[in-house]
Symmetry: C2
Subunit: 327 residues, 2 copies
């Protein structure tokens, strides 16, 4: 659904409709605590990688760590480090609020958390297991997991399907709520004031909201071209066009340089930004977006006001305690 820039007004209207639609309440199934506990244990277990050095949590940090200002659900590097010190090729997205995503990965090639998981486990730059079977065998070698699987699923059978369901169940609990913007949108008109409130107005008027709609500040099942305005100097400075985006997953020419729209929730703590982690300065990121997506140079005032608004999208980060790993 790539649209010529001239069709922006129509697009923006459509997106506002989608955005309202997105606010409808979802059905929520209460999580099974045993599945969640098993999933958390697997999430933190670096024995599930080829050289036993990398866990899901290595790149999706939930706990305060050195060299990390906040437990961002990702890490603070442009590209994460996998087994044998190998470097990834796209910036690690945060796992906070991943339950709100309909599509996973920057190119959206997975449509469920369970489906997403096969990627990192077997990617040679991430956890590098040669196959899902090898992964399951690795878990089977750790006797302590037998009881955890029995508690979660009723029998000691260890399968990838069970693993992925348990990890997904855990990940779905990773929610940050109570940001000031949420409070504001839920009716507390005092929650946003001054520059933050002005920033919200600019955010809407300038058009950021056309892709980053409330309440998720993303768009479900929706991909967008980036950069839309394919500026030579932006590509020179940041290399945005080196990665063909969704095209690498689908092979469809239409998908060249299209990307899943990232949510702006917790953007304060999830630097660096963009699929290649091009900058970790939020004001610069906002300027780049104005220039590359809306074909305009934002004023200093607009950029700062929007930044002030975005800083109010940080929710309360739950305290996650590390699990005891089975022997």
């Amino acid at each position: 659904m790539y649209c010529h820039p001239k069709s922006f007004p129509i697009l923006i209207s459509l997106m506002l409709v989608f955005s309202l639609y997105g606010q409808s309440t979802q059905e929520v199934t209460p999580p099974d605590p045993y599945k969640v506990a098993l999933g958390k244990t697997l999430f933190f277990d670096s024995r599930l990688s080829l050289d036993q050095s990398v866990s899901c949590h290595s790149c999706h940090t939930l706990i305060q760590a050195p060299n990390l200002k906040h437990p961002s659900g990702a890490d603070s590097s442009r590209f994460s480090i996998g087994i044998f010190g190998r470097v990834g090729t796209r910036n690690t997205p945060t796992v906070w609020n991943v339950v709100e995503r309909q599509r996973l990965f920057w190119d959206g090639r997975a449509d469920s958390l369970e489906g997403q998981m096969t990627g990192p486990f077997t990617d040679p730059r991430e956890m590098g297991m040669p196959s899902l079977k090898a992964l399951v065998d690795r878990v089977k070698q750790i006797p302590g997991y037998l009881e955890l699987f029995k508690k979660a699923f009723g029998s000691r059978d260890i399968t990838f399907s069970r693993m992925s369901h348990a990890i997904a169940a855990f990940e779905k609990t990773l929610v940050t709520e109570h940001s000031l913007v949420e409070a504001f949108l839920n009716g507390n008109k005092e929650a946003l004031k001054g520059d933050a409130l002005l920033g919200w107005e600019r955010f809407k008027r300038i058009g950021c909201i056309s892709c980053h709609g409330a309440p998720t500040f993303s768009q479900k099942d929706y991909f967008q071209m980036f950069p839309i305005w394919n500026r030579e100097e932006l590509n020179y400075l940041y290399g945005f066009n080196r990665d063909k985006g969704r095209f690498t997953a689908t092979g469809i020419p239409f998908d060249h340089h299209r990307w899943r729209i990232p949510s702006l929730k917790n953007i304060e703590i999830t630097a660096p930004y963009f699929h290649n982690g091009a900058t970790d300065d939020l004001e610069t990121a906002i300027r780049i977006m104005g220039y590359a997506q809306l074909n305009r140079q934002l004023s200093k005032e607009d950029a700062i006001l929007i930044k002030t608004f975005l800083l109010n999208l940080t929710g309360r980060i739950p305290i996650v305690s590390p699990p005891r790993l089975p022997e």
Copy 2:
């Protein structure tokens, strides 16, 4: 000495001459250990700031700290935080190897460490003392300093001149040696290999060396326009031209947007870069320099090779132990 870009070939030749000149051996006076010890104590003492929260070391970190990958001699933020949480206006330069600088501050307005020091002590955004007299009075209120001054200077008199000499004596010991590039330039031809060696060749051929000459990878007493090629999009993204540089110190129109040339030593650990800390990504910084100073878009290969070379400019960081502060 602003030169029209067309005069670059001449400029580069001149700079190479200066660069060779810079290699001549300096006379070295062995530091007085008591002065150094006093200077170190003053450097770490946050009681010397108005609200007693900020020391020299608060912004010029020499010791591994949380949220800091390396003790960089600066901090890792765009702008440092002074008293009462006030935010600075220019990126903190590293104090490592400051003995090699002939001019201090981004705008070079001080020509000695002793002269530089009055700035941070009395700047309302930094340590905020109302006057040097108030500063000296503050030190006099700490009886433990009397003996330290006596050891260093032979009498218990506490003056700003003595303070600044002691702090400068300490700062002059903050030297990082033994980088691979130094080893290479000192004759160990094995010290730079492969991409690092190729990067050194590109660094010279492309013209980076015209301002960042060996062995300091800076230029003594020398200011340069930045950006030379005053590109709208660079200013939009990074706001480079918002700060008039040396003009703010001299008021001379010629000094508009001229800056002291920062040394590239330890650049790996001294992010973020530029007078306003515009980016902390070294590859982006290199691309910006090519674009803004040399009017060329570096190839991916050139940028990566130069980066690889620059990573070899990291010296051995001395272990600094925090002093015991007098009561």
